[in-house]
Amino acid sequence: MSKMKALVCRECGKEYPTKAIHVCEMCFGPLEVKYNYDEIKKTISRKKIEDGPRSMWRYIDLLPVEGTNFVGPHAGFTPLVRAKNLGAYLGLDELYIKNDTVNHPTLSFKDRVVAVALTRARELGFETVACASTGNLANSVAAHAASANLHCYVFIPGDLEAAKVLGNLIYKPHVVEIEGNYDDVNRLCSEIAAEHGWAFVNINIRPYYAEGSKTLAFETVEQLGWKTPDQVVIPMASGSLLTKIWKGLHEMKALGLIDAVHTKINGAQAEGCSPISTAFKAGRDFFKPVKPQTIAKSLAIGNPADGYYALKATAESHGSMDMVTDAEVVEGIQLLAQTEGIFAETAGGVTIGVLKKLVKQGVIKKDEVTVAYVTGNGLKTQEAVIDSVGRPVRIQPSLVAFEKTFKMGKNGGGDA
């Protein structure tokens, strides 16, 4: 029996076959994969997972694919870094960074969702894949499509960082730059998807794609020694990642892999695009779309599709949400780099900035085991920090010049 039972509407519960569809015909609600948990429960175990591959595919029993002909076989299982320096700085005893800046192959958490999406797209017989993207998703789709010999179209907003544009072109997909923001790109792609028989990973493949994010929850729990963290801080764009981490934790409990979920889920946004955090702080369960204006471009979604569910998950977990200014984003990137040696992109700066705020507010307490999700690599958003990192010290190639510049004493040390 297949582990996937059906696609089911999150709003009205209507069921559909496990094909390339994403919207309920009756109420427009998003479709989600429904699993045969009874069947999965018979074989899944900590031991079986631990014996699996050192990639996110060790959790294949909870991922929506039929076979093992993977696109992206190396995605996931990134380091969970014990952040002693940053923890000491913030006043936390046990802080971890889930470090997806080193995900394979394109250095962001999107490699997880794309590996699932393209594996499933190929199973469904598609030869062309596409996506609407704020950058990281496009990079990942383009790279995976190249390796899987799939035709590829990526659609991006016109104002992306240079490295994210180049990070598409190098794989030679069709790169379409839209004169507008991500929400414009998304709307257009939704219309294109209706006319072409392509696998749009975040549109008609979305029910499968989004499930890949659960692996961030699975890995965190396994890497903590099969324990759930007390607090997590998650960056929010569409709100899908946060929603799926919450779902992943509950699946592990439902399958007996852990005893209980007591994790508080906290969402992070940049002030210039914070429709979800703003709604949370106002005590609303719905959000108002905004026109994004922030350097955190990977999170610049003004009309977040999963905003409603992100608000719900955060409330259910008794977590919180907050937002930070662009200056705090840059500060967050530098703080993480200078304490832990991890260079995150702007979304990581948002996460660290909000983590700092939540500790200060007393929302996250000293003795709570805390995990911050750092989901993308700083080399892709160099524009954000280039003016605040200083310049190298330039000298003639002579010992005298060096000694003079650094005023070295006999025992070393000194400074420029």
Partner: protein, 90 residues
Amino acid sequence: MIKVRIPTPLRPLTKGQGEVETKAGSVVEMIEMLNSAHPGIKDRLCDETGELRRFVNIYVNEEDIRFLKGKDTSLKDGDEVSIVPAIAGG
């Protein structure tokens, strides 16, 4: 005439047409007129209280009506309307 682009989930109601025309003066009137021509459309777009469902996005000339006047956004000859289900991001 106002062009309305119909998303895939609603096409069974428009006999497969991806685009229909209307003469409505506002979004709310457009929904009523579409419903007369293609019975059932209103129930798909609106909940029991008549409000637009949470996951329905409507755009007039590429602008989300939530940045305009919502359901009361006016329509005029030559306008283009898109009805789009919410989609995920990144």
